[in-house]
Symmetry: C2
Subunit: 202 residues, 2 copies
């Protein structure tokens, strides 16, 4: 299995370099379980979902706490047939896809109960893509049903779904969406945008 | 058919609102062929690919010309089974998917010859997702073969491909990738990031 994300932080301020660099400390508790490589467009973070999502949450919360309008963007992927297996991605977080959809939805809701709060609001928008054999729309609509019950569901938009709430439950909900839906050995991706302190909301 | 994008501009400057608002004029020549709706996270643009991609190109080039580090992000989609047909999306730009891959690759390369230059460099990174019946990895690798010959190919990264060059051929290449690959009646999406004036490149 190979899993990870290409992620970027976009602070809408002249001091964007300082905001980015000072937020990266939030990744420190997770670094020994991740492989990280940066270029001028994005940072590759390779690792299992149960590390990736808390790491993204902490990075986002740290960046948001500076008070500027800042956006975290990530392209997340698991199970891409074009990527090699990597031991660092070994995970126990993926649902057995042969388990019925209703049971996976309930397990996802149960997992949210232990999500900690961060004190930072996250306005998130994302698309879940499920590829390969199987009924990809059944998995996507099954995931959307879970999202509607998750407590952070805001609304559906064309091409994506909005979540809002404390970054803790929001990123936990994203993790459940990523881990519990998709066909056996599926290639599952998420196109994610999380916005903090937007002046359009004031 | 339903096609469109959720797009956002992220100018890394205190004057980000001014940069965004002053760049939107670049959409004016395209507005009568698009449906546009904005909220605090993104702007929905609905319309056919042959209008969408030039409109995104002009928006990007206008924003980049202000000189700040700015990123354009878009979630593009066509043929999503969950979206209704919309007459504004009527298009003649999609390849016949029964046409052999080699022929579609050549048609894509031919189409690039007429791409105009904009004078703005675009560093782009994107993922193409092909869903539904059919061999999605054959279509994706067929698209990547086209990209390698496109003249704007930079390199492959985990989960995505980088293009670089003038925004004219870069957005034309993205349009060809979006239109000519994917199974019959396929659901095809692109997760796109285009970066201008990054200090990390200096």
């Amino acid at each position: 299995m190979f899993a990870g994300a290409q992620l970027s932080l976009y602070p809408m301020t002249d001091t964007f370099v300082d905001v980015i660099l000072s937020s990266l400390d939030a990744l420190d508790p997770w670094r020994d379980r991740l492989r990280i490589e940066t270029d001028d467009i994005s940072t590759l973070v390779v690792g299992p979902p149960e590390v990736l999502f808390p790491a993204l949450r902490d990075l986002y919360a740290s960046a948001a706490s500076k008070g500027h309008h800042v956006v975290l963007r990530a392209t997340l992927s698991r199970g891409c047939p074009g990527e090699p297996d990597d031991p660092i991605c070994q995970t126990s977080a993926l649902a057995n896809p042969f388990e019925p959809l209703a049971s996976r939805q309930q397990a996802a809701l149960d997992a949210l109960k232990s999500a900690p709060d961060t004190g930072q609001i996250a306005d998130a928008q994302f698309s879940l893509y499920v590829m390969g054999a199987g009924d990809h729309m059944a998995e996507i609509t099954g995931c959307i049903d879970f999202l509607r019950s998750s407590g952070t569901f805001d609304r559906s938009k064309n091409f994506c779904t909005r979540l809002t709430g404390d970054a803790g439950p929001v990123f936990a909900t994203l993790q459940e969406a990523f881990c519990r839906f998709g066909p056996p050995n599926g290639h599952v991706t998420i196109d994610l945008t999380v916005s903090a302190n937007s002046p359009s909301k004031r």
